[in-house]
Symmetry: C2
Subunit: 226 residues, 2 copies
DNA sequence: ATGGTGTTTATAACACTGTTATATCCCTAT
DNA sequence: ATAGGGATATAACAGTGTTATAAACACCAT
């Protein structure tokens, strides 16, 4: 490691400190939410000054922007970890469940992701730089959205879901329902964990059933035989 | 008014200032979101000192808690303004649309309502005082929730929606979908206003269709004849 | 009407926050 | 080895919510 770090010591140290800041910030995020991230406390925890945040991220906004991107990456990783069921409808169901699991296991990250429901951290608006930036419109280009989109697309190609609505509308419909369900559950709107899970299954099942083509419904009924 | 104010001048002035603070705060909320509410600016705007907020609301938390309650009251008013269609299914559809209209017309208030998806302003947690407080569990006692709940209940009683899931699950399913759709739309996830509206109708229609009983589906098909 | 009492108010201080200016240091490239 | 440039630490600035203190006020009993 010593020789390797000699190649470009400065860049390595920069990256190391950048990740150290990100790690500490994410820990503070998980502990007390986005407001609990204080640049001063963060700096002292990492053993540097607040200026490090400005050189590495351009300020607090850039820092939480980086956390925001990491949240989407983690969600994408959770979705990618889902074994691709050959039955596209079941794969879609598994993806929805993976989304929920992510939200429940990473409530702070999830809250950060959806906290952009209006304030929109400013730095996340259509970056005119060509750089991929997971913001409002940009999210639809991110893997986390693309994975579910492709799964819906497959269902349309197989004739399970209709094509006249457009794939985007179908994907958004499922996304909206899943997101709404997770919001409710994280806010504490449930009598028990089992009740929340049941509600999730009933709702996602209903929205899929309501969108299905006649052929899709036949297939669903045959699957429910098991 | 002069004689009337003589009866209890102090209380009247208190209430007047309380509402003045609330009005100014709501204006600041609409302009720049919850973070744009500064107690100092609020006080100077109303023509008093920051202490007024502490005597009237117990602090900033109490102030936004009051705004939070007002947001739910406004939503309830918007729902109550919906003419009660004798066909419960159509009434439910109109309620959902009224919810969306409220969210689009009052984005700041709506953002405040759903901003409690996790941070939960602390003061809004299950107030052990018997006082009705629209928080997590408490919201289900609020009119804004009750109106939609009763509409769903009516559908169950009419045999349009099944009873084996329980009314709460059905109501939550619709609520979650509508909320998710509004979140997406307010975050800017739509190509045009018409596209967003279409997506809203498709999704809410699908989730209702997916939940319907066989009798309910017949009724829906007959309604779609028009 | 007047004096006492308790609440509401304004002022100022406190402990924070993010940001920025400045000056030092370290590292790299010549 | 040395001049130059970017990163850093220190400190100051402009804010924030909250709190202590003391004056003003309204009310009630005498």
């Amino acid at each position: 490691m010593s020789t390797q770090s000699d190649v470009s010591t400065a860049d390595a140290r920069r990256n190391a400190q950048r990740e150290a800041l990100l790690d500490a910030a994410s820990e503070m995020l998980v502990h007390g939410g986005p407001d609990a991230i204080s640049l001063r406390k963060l700096a002292t925890r990492v053993g540097t000054s607040t200026m490090a945040v400005y050189t590495a991220f351009g300020g607090k906004e850039g820092l939480i922007s980086a956390l925001y991107e990491e949240a989407f990456d983690r969600l994408a990783a959770a979705e990618e970890a889902v074994t691709k069921n050959p039955e596209p409808l079941l794969y879609l169901r598994d993806l929805a469940f993976a989304y929920r699991s992510f939200a429940l296991k990473n409530p702070s990250y999830y809250a950060l992701m959806i906290s952009s429901t209006l304030p929109v951290p400013d730095s996340l608006r259509h970056s005119d730089t060509g750089e991929a930036n997971p913001t409002a419109r940009g999210v639809t280009q991110h893997r986390s959205y693309r994975i579910m989109f492709d799964a819906v697309k497959k269902c349309v190609e197989d004739g399970i879901l209709p094509s006249h609505h457009g794939v985007e509308v179908l994907a958004d419909a499922l996304w909206a329902a899943v997101h709404g369900l997770c919001s409710l559950e994280l806010a504490g709107f449930h009598d028990s964990a089992e009740a929340a899970e049941n509600r999730f299954n009933v709702t996602t099942g209903a929205i899929l059933r309501g969108l299905l083509t006649p052929e899709g419904r036949k297939k669903l009924d045959s699957l429910n035989q098991d």
